[in-house]
């Protein structure tokens, strides 16, 4: 039986310093193959809704009328299925992840794109975010 075999590891730890990062200030870079945030090239989107139907987490909402596409990043499980099924290949997966935000701060959590109605229509308040 050994007595205090852990002490050697503890001394190494003292010399090596902390193994953790100061997260919001120091972010570990992602790998080129990391699965991260879903991004969209919105002008190419045809609003077919394939991503909406196949999303296992129901994070994507697509509407045909009015034309809009919306993803809730913190509901997304980054499976990449939407990227795979998109018929016009307008979806892509970035390697970085959404940063931690305050719960009340919706801006960091939802990515919404809305097509403004055709010029003939009266309603003009819809914006392209």
């Amino acid at each position: 039986m050994a007595v205090l075999p852990m002490t050697r590891i503890l001394f190494r730890n003292l010399i090596q310093g902390p193994a953790t990062r100061r997260y919001p200030f120091v972010v570990r870079p992602s790998f080129p193959s990391s699965r991260g945030r879903i991004t969209i090239d919105y002008p190419k989107c045809i609003h077919c809704g394939a991503c909406d139907r196949r999303c296992p987490a129901n994070a994507i909402k697509v509407s045909k009328d009015p034309k809009s596409w919306k993803i809730e990043h913190f509901a997304c499980v980054t499976c990449g299925l939407c990227v795979k099924v998109c018929p016009v290949k307008c979806l892509d997966m970035a390697i970085d992840r959404p940063k931690a935000v305050r719960f009340a701060d919706l801006a960091g959590r939802v990515d919404e794109h809305v097509t403004p109605p055709a010029p003939a229509a009266e309603a003009d308040e819809a914006t392209h975010a």
Partner: protein, 368 residues
């Protein structure tokens, strides 16, 4: 605490244990029957985190469900996805390309190593060895980084798909990953010495929660629980994925106590590292997936794998449409619960946490 409804002082007192308890990583409840400090009976109860994932198979396309199957458990995620894929591939009657089989083996062993290192930390924490807990989780972090570099995800690998795998890391990346794992492997040698030789650890684990060879077999224990009681039984020898082409030895102990179960897992971590090296060295070239088209035929299939916690069984039944009829998982923790109750009988109350931790319970898997 005494049972106030009973005046007889010789009757056992009942102590509720869990579902919230410092040693428990997941909710699991026990009614412990105690005679003085000795446990004379234990009634387990689960059912706190049921999510109904099996039913979702009727609502998702059969090729998409693998993403749900992976989320049955956060620790053996790849194996759950892969087990589902193997069962569906059995229904479809397709063979997976060679490189996909070898990559699956690579990721399985990566998962086994990080699961056992996580267990080592949690077990150390359960008997109050916090610095060992932190040291083992630091080593685990390197493995998780390799998982992200090769599969894309830290915990949910997301690389198993029906017909193969979705990611194809280059041979150079895989070799670099083996190099990146070397510090974890060196750390493991030191941590193994602490876990197996330290006098304080041995006092907590040796002779505690003994499960005899006969009882382990009769109660249907699986995985390290069964191997620690002297049974040489490892499903990897069935040769699924590429295990049939990689030589490895099954770790077997005979004592059947908590120390034997710890020793099994520590041997398996070392063995996982060596299988990882062999898998990278022998990785064949070629495609990583076969295309899957159309509906699956009517049929059913079982798939069995060796998870870090033991044998897991997947059952899939197809009705010929894109939505499968039934998906069923028999998880290793479920199989180990009767053996865990048996191991508790005769132990003292202070050892209950250690005994529960040495079966490495995964309640999320068990309840799905």
């Amino acid at each position: 605490m005494t049972d106030h409804g009973d005046k007889d002082l010789s009757s056992p007192s009942v102590i509720p244990f869990g579902p919230q308890h410092p040693v428990l990583p997941e909710p699991l409840h026990f009614d412990l029957y105690l005679q003085d400090e000795k446990i004379v009976g234990a009634v387990p109860q689960i059912g706190y985190i049921h999510r109904g994932l099996e039913l979702l198979v009727e609502k998702r396309d059969y090729t998409d469900y693998v993403h749900v199957a992976e989320r049955i458990c956060g620790i053996c995620s790849f194996m759950h996805g892969m087990g589902y894929c193997e069962a569906v591939e059995g229904v479809l009657g397709i063979a997976v390309p060679d490189r996909a089989r070898w990559l699956r083996t690579f990721w399985c062993e990566l998962e086994r190593a990080h699961s056992h290192l996580m267990w080592l930390g949690l077990a150390a924490d359960a008997f109050g060895f916090e610095s060992l807990f932190m040291a083992s989780w630091r080593a685990r972090e390197l493995i998780i980084d390799v998982a992200e570099e090769t599969a894309g995800g830290r915990v949910i690998f997301g690389s198993a798909i029906v017909g193969g795998v979705s990611k194809d890391p280059s041979d150079e990346t895989l070799r670099r990953c083996i190099e990146a794992l070397r510090p974890a492997r060196d750390d493991m040698v030191r941590l193994a010495r602490v876990m197996l030789k330290d006098i304080t650890v041995r006092h907590r684990l040796e002779g505690v929660g003994v499960l005899s060879k006969e009882r382990a077999y009769l109660l249907g224990a699986v995985g390290p629980m069964l191997r620690a009681s002297g049974h040489d039984y490892d499903l990897r020898r069935r040769g699924y994925a590429a295990y049939g082409e990689i030589a490895f030895e099954t770790a077997v102990e005979t004592a059947g106590d908590c120390m034997a179960r710890a020793a099994i897992r520590i041997k398996e971590i070392e063995q996982s590292f060596s299988i990882l090296e062999k898998a990278v060295a022998g990785m064949p070239a070629g495609p990583v997936a076969v295309p899957i088209k159309g509906m699956p035929p009517v049929g059913e299939c079982y798939a069995r794998l060796e998870q870090p916690r033991g044998e897991v069984v997947y059952y899939v039944r197809s009705n010929g449409s894109r939505r499968l009829d039934r998906f069923r998982v028999r998880t290793p923790t479920f199989a180990n619960i009767p053996a865990m109750v048996e191991a508790m009988i005769g132990a003292s109350l202070a050892d209950v946490g250690t005994i529960i931790l040495t079966i490495d319970p995964c309640i999320s898997c068990t309840e799905r």
